[in-house]
Homo-oligomer: 158 residues x 2
């Protein structure tokens, strides 16, 4: 977690609750070509990088039929991100914006969401395209991508 010295002008930090409400398991790791945050692409749309998802053997049976899908969601834990900023000033934006209006890794629960293209499944390893995270990032979940629920081509943004 970064120190307080990383707060930019206008950013707002809060004191987080004294205890957690639930616990999560790291179920694997994502292997990528990116060894630091500085090397990572800004997001999956700007990445054509191929990576591997290495699932813990305990969960191997959960991959049955996954190869039937063309795209997946990866949920992963951005363990290098601080969790206490509710307003942030990303360098590309030039002013503050609420954390929930940003896809920044910095958020109370630093769970990232990335749609990737599935290239193949071999044993407990998936090969995927469009990875954007640091090598070794802890994996929380894999879900199939459903265009029926997940695709909104007309969604608007500022």
């Amino acid at each position: 977690m970064s120190g307080r010295s990383d707060v930019r002008p206008g950013e707002v930090a809060i004191e987080l609750p004294p205890s957690y409400d639930a616990g999560i398991y790291f179920i694997g790791r994502i292997r990528t070509p990116f060894k630091s945050r500085a090397e990572c692409p800004k997001n999956t749309a700007e990445s054509d990088a191929v990576g591997r998802v290495e699932l813990d053997p305990l969960y191997a049976a959960g991959l049955e039929d996954l190869a039937l899908y063309s795209h997946l969601w990866l949920l992963y834990w951005m363990n290098q991100a601080r969790r206490d900023l509710v307003q942030q000033a990303p360098a590309h934006l030039g002013h503050t914006r609420g954390t929930f209006a940003l896809r920044s890794p910095v958020r109370p629960n630093p769970i990232a969401l990335a749609a990737v293209q599935l290239i193949g499944v071999e044993g407990m390893t998936l090969t995927v395209r469009k990875v954007d995270c640091i090598d070794g990032t802890p994996l929380l979940d894999i879900k199939p991508y459903f265009a029926s629920t997940d695709c909104f081509p007309d969604a608007t943004r500022p």
Copy 2:
């Protein structure tokens, strides 16, 4: 969490790790018309229901600029789901499939992902359309929907 008696023929349960790897905060609640799992729509594509996202006041500043987006991701904690099934036999499918090839609430980390249409933001309350979860479900995160990273109209599924 449901008891072992709920396992259907062919489903596979595992013994989960003895401890968690990280902790999460419940940052609010999702209010919906659905009082039980039986009342919930199968997914957001089959729902036109309007619900409210009630954010904890601690995180209120995080909503700045959220109203600039038409669609949001809600990440929430399916606290009624068991976590130990790696193969499941959903009633609609008629055979087993790996947990990671299903959008079932039952998974090692029961984090749900739902794209909803944002109707409005008032104070710490969002009004959204297409909710599918039980009333009172704990909220983990709100993210803006980006068609550039999140929309794959040609994604295929079995």
